[in-house]
Symmetry: C2
């Protein structure tokens, strides 16, 4: 029997599209809002004073399936995490597919099941979606866009600009797992059979840290561009310096080995299930303990601190190495590994 | 001088990506929320009792530029219209690009300017975004996803399921302009030098109709699959029949000529700036007049009515022709013209 694949008619707006929606998307993650079938989902009113947090991300990773996850898990976790970084509770997602003619329906079903599972873990619902199909050779199997909204309590006001000298910098676990996993898959390298993408929804971890340490300045997930880009963004937003202690940064030995062999800087490698948190020094320990109580924060560590920027030059990020020397930790300039997420 | 094009590094998360964001996206449609640069936009609290309307759409149309619009105008108008169909006031959009390596930056700037202009016309703001770049040959220049949120007053409760026998069906203008324009561009046909895509934001038109005719049952924009698919969806949601008077449906003569020549059914051709509205019979005239007062509703017409479905078969849509005969107006089955939006 021929493999069922995506056809142009699945994007037509007609009966074939209705069928793929019913049999694939609704079957995986149907819910009352999605099933209404109107063009926009209508969602309940917020509680008084609550604001909206709103984010979007497209996912173009190859391969579509990799140890520890797949493009569907990434698409849900990535947007959940972006919404959660504001301190909000993510509630609703949209999901839009750009499918290439010929993409196996079996793969699409597997991806949708993975999205449903990640959404359930995060406690969010996919409430509306869209499906487009492009001709063979004009896409790459599957691209997914998710957007997400969450509600933000009036008392919470996080952001990169809130960082100030004296604050501590935490990371919720080991760096580089996602980037090195994808690279290993793609290049057929076998650094380790145990290495997996860290893709995970971190909204519950974030909520726990916020409760334990209300003096959090900001959260940021170090995805493309890695920790180095994230810290440079924060330094720039707040006009401060940040110094990281290399020895304090958790990195798996397989990841470090791969980076050394390939000439990658682990600080610039992408993560999909890690959170950077800047917090007032006196609450850093409480934040760390809250992270470590989360299943995704076992390896959390305090890795550095915020200091005043020197007026004669712009905000900088420094790395103090194990040997006591200090180097500038730059933002990634070009491209390390395309299509990492 | 070589043409500036999109490079893989523009999707890296590093300094090249920061530059394209600053110089292209912020330059076109920057605003306070977007410029904050955090991962999620934080938006003001809603008024008491207001609900959220939430929608998403990806846009893959080729060619990217066509008479009457471009992929950017479509991306803004499409999502604005989907949010507005619920009766909501669209407020905020997200915008996510999937760019192919080699795409001319000049085209991207033009598309972003067009998005800024359409957003301004609709009165919405692009508050957060995302940029991915795929390798040459794995995309098709540019794909755009937009999502949108709007606020919905407690008194409004529209939806396909609200249609009931006796209601009138309106359309806000001529059918098929967008689909035939795209097809003419793509195939190098010249049906007319005056034919243009109808891509337009219809939120102001919808608000005017709702004010004039509070007994509106639902709005729906007849995009992919055309009027035939839209009416079949409504009939199915409400378990009713719908009968359309062929002579009452506004169609431009160039569009009709093209459809006849190519064997297309104009009722299945896509529109991007038209709205179908079902309204209680005693307010149909008021709704019609409100549509006609809008710049995008000059050719609005009452085209049919809702009747009871016959119990021995499912809900159906009928077309009464100029000759007095009646045929079933079916949903599009396969694909008429791929990548129409």
């Amino acid at each position: 029997m021929a493999t069922e694949t995506v056809m142009l008619g699945h994007g037509s707006g007609g009966t074939m599209m209705k069928r793929i929606i019913d049999e694939v998307f609704f079957a995986a993650y149907g819910n009352d809002d999605l099933l209404k079938g109107d063009d926009a989902a209508v969602l309940p009113a917020l509680e008084a004073g609550q604001r909206l947090a709103y984010s979007t991300d497209s996912f173009v990773v190859t391969p579509h399936f990799f140890p520890g996850g797949d493009i569907g898990r990434l698409a849900v976790c990535g947007t959940v995490n972006d919404v959660a970084t504001s301190g909000a509770t993510p509630l609703y997602l949209t999901c839009a597919f750009i499918l290439e003619e010929g993409f196996p329906l079996e793969d699409l079903r597997r991806i949708c099941a993975s999205m449903a599972s990640a959404a359930k873990e995060a406690g969010v619902r996919i409430v509306t979606g869209d499906t487009k199909v492009v001709n063979r050779g004009h896409g790459d199997g599957i691209f997914i866009n998710t957007s997400g909204v969450g509600t933000l309590a009036p008392s919470i006001n996080l952001g990169g600009a809130q960082c100030r000298p004296g604050d501590k910098v935490l990371v919720s676990g080991t760096l580089g797992d996602h980037g090195i996993t994808i690279m290993s898959c793609r290049e057929g390298l076998n650094f380790s059979t145990t290495l997996e993408s860290d893709a995970a929804p971190l909204n519950h971890l974030i909520a726990a840290v916020l409760e334990a340490a209300p003096a959090v300045r900001c959260f940021r997930d170090p995805t493309r561009g890695g920790l180095a880009s994230t810290l440079n963004e924060l330094a720039s937003q707040a006009s401060v310096d940040i110094t990281v202690e290399e020895e304090a940064v958790p990195v798996k030995s397989e990841v470090l080995g791969a980076c050394e062999m390939l000439g990658y800087d682990v600080f610039q490698v992408a993560n999909e299930g890690k959170m950077v948190c800047v917090v007032a020094a006196d609450q850093a320990q409480a934040a760390l303990e809250a992270m470590r109580r989360s299943p995704y924060g076992q390896d959390a560590a305090i890795i550095g601190e915020v200091t005043e920027a020197r007026p004669e030059r712009g905000p900088k990020v420094f790395l103090r190495t194990a040997f006591g020397s200090t180097r500038i930790l730059d933002m990634l300039v070009g491209e390390q590994l395309p299509r990492i997420c």
